[in-house]
């Protein structure tokens, strides 16, 4: 098995075309609140696992770092995440950047979606905007998006 072979299977998955694209200019990074949004199907131990076709998101508390992956795809290496969650959700690194003053604040909450979706309309029209509004309400200025 090679990483290249698995990647080749994902190369041509169709994605929605956005005719009108937004481009948000954030505040200065040193004053901004940063959250992570991952498509690794992460959840806390006491949260519901992801269903096979689950367009919803889970709110991840920043201070409770017991994240597990509930991803349904077998097409990625999970050992790196198992040994160091920063491989997927680099919160220790963001903490260090905050303490150095390079970013304003690490958000108190982060989000995770399930990335193994073939029909993205629900995420585009429903759970995506809902998650973004939620983070906006929490004062988030910048989202770092991480896949698996």
């Amino acid at each position: 098995m090679s990483d290249a072979e698995v990647k080749s299977m994902a190369e041509n998955i169709e994605a929605p075309v956005f005719e009108n694209k937004a481009f948000t200019i954030p505040p200065e990074l040193s004053k901004a609140t940063v959250a992570i949004v991952s498509t690794a199907s992460l959840h806390h131990e006491d949260q519901d696992d992801f269903a096979p076709v689950d367009i919803g998101y889970r709110v991840l508390k920043n201070q409770k770092r017991d994240y597990q992956t509930g991803h349904w795809s077998p097409n990625f290496d999970s050992v790196g995440f198992a040994a160091d969650f920063n491989t997927v959700i680099p919160l220790d690194r963001l903490d260090e950047l905050e303490s150095e003053g390079k970013i304003g604040k690490v958000s108190d909450v982060h989000l995770s979606y399930a990335g193994n979706q073939f029909d993205l309309s629900g995420i585009r029209m429903d759970s995506g905007p809902a998650g973004a509004k939620f983070l906006k309400e929490q004062g988030v200025d910048i989202a770092l998006l991480t896949p698996v």
């Binding site: 090679s2 954030p26 949004v37 290496d77 491989t87 997927v88 260090e96 995420i123 995506g128």
Partner: protein
């Protein structure tokens, strides 16, 4: 990933999307994209390497200075393919009265428990089968491989999910058997090519597929290139 980026930008949140698949991130064109040629599952590149992870983040956050959509490539690829092979000793037979695969599962349990104690259970078992249920889960897949219709074999959940727990049990055991974090995919390759349980999963997958079951039931029991 890129869909979320576009949606979040519409809501007033600036985004930076990391991507590991070149054509995918090029085709989907997130507002700010950083192509990182890293193994799937490791978007920050190297586990337990803070300096490397910081270099990725530094490049990613630098994209915020762009005044229009931007796609750049991180200059340090991580070429871990798992083809180097994992030297990971399987425990010797300890009970000849047991099926060899059951003996294998029991032999790995101390390593699994050590790894869970050290790292937590982030990707091991527990989706539908706990560590204590791995033996029964594998026995159910043996019945499938031996000809029992999959719906009558007592599989404790959707086969693809059960297979993930079995694979997770073995891959996390690797962390308890080695003194380093293995290269990406090497644990997976070890499971499917060197262990008896891996062979059981593949045999059951083939049997379910041959039975005419719907593809999602069996296909995702193993990576798609198998």
């Amino acid at each position: 990933m890129s869909t979320l980026a576009h949606v979040f930008e519409f809501e007033g949140i600036a985004t930076i999307a990391l991507g590991s698949v070149r054509k995918q991130i090029e085709n989907t064109a997130p507002p700010r994209g950083l192509l990182c040629d890293f193994p799937l599952g490791r978007p920050l590149g190297r586990p337990d390497d803070a300096k490397f992870q910081h270099r990725v983040l530094s490049h990613a956050f630098s994209l915020l200075e762009a005044e229009e959509p931007v796609l750049e490539e991180f200059e340090e690829p991580v070429a871990e393919t798992g083809t180097e092979g994992l030297v990971c000793p399987l425990p010797p037979r300890s009970n000849d009265d047991l099926l060899p695969v059951i003996d294998e599962i029991r032999g790995l349990r101390p390593a699994y428990d050590r790894a869970i104690a050290k790292f937590g259970n982030r990707a091991g078992t527990g989706r539908v089968v706990s560590a204590d249920g791995i033996e029964a889960a594998v026995e159910s897949l043996i019945r499938v491989a031996d000809g029992t219709p999959w719906k009558e074999a007592g599989i404790p959940g959707i086969p693809s999910r059960v297979a993930q727990d079995i694979r997770g049990y073995y891959e996390i055991s690797v962390l308890g058997l080695t003194d380093h974090i293995p290269a990406a995919w090497s644990g997976t390759n070890w499971f499917f090519t060197k262990t008896l349980a891996g062979k059981v999963v593949l045999a059951a997958r083939a049997a379910i597929g041959d039975s005419g079951a719907k593809r999602p039931i069996w296909f995702y029991m193993a990576p798609g290139d198998r």
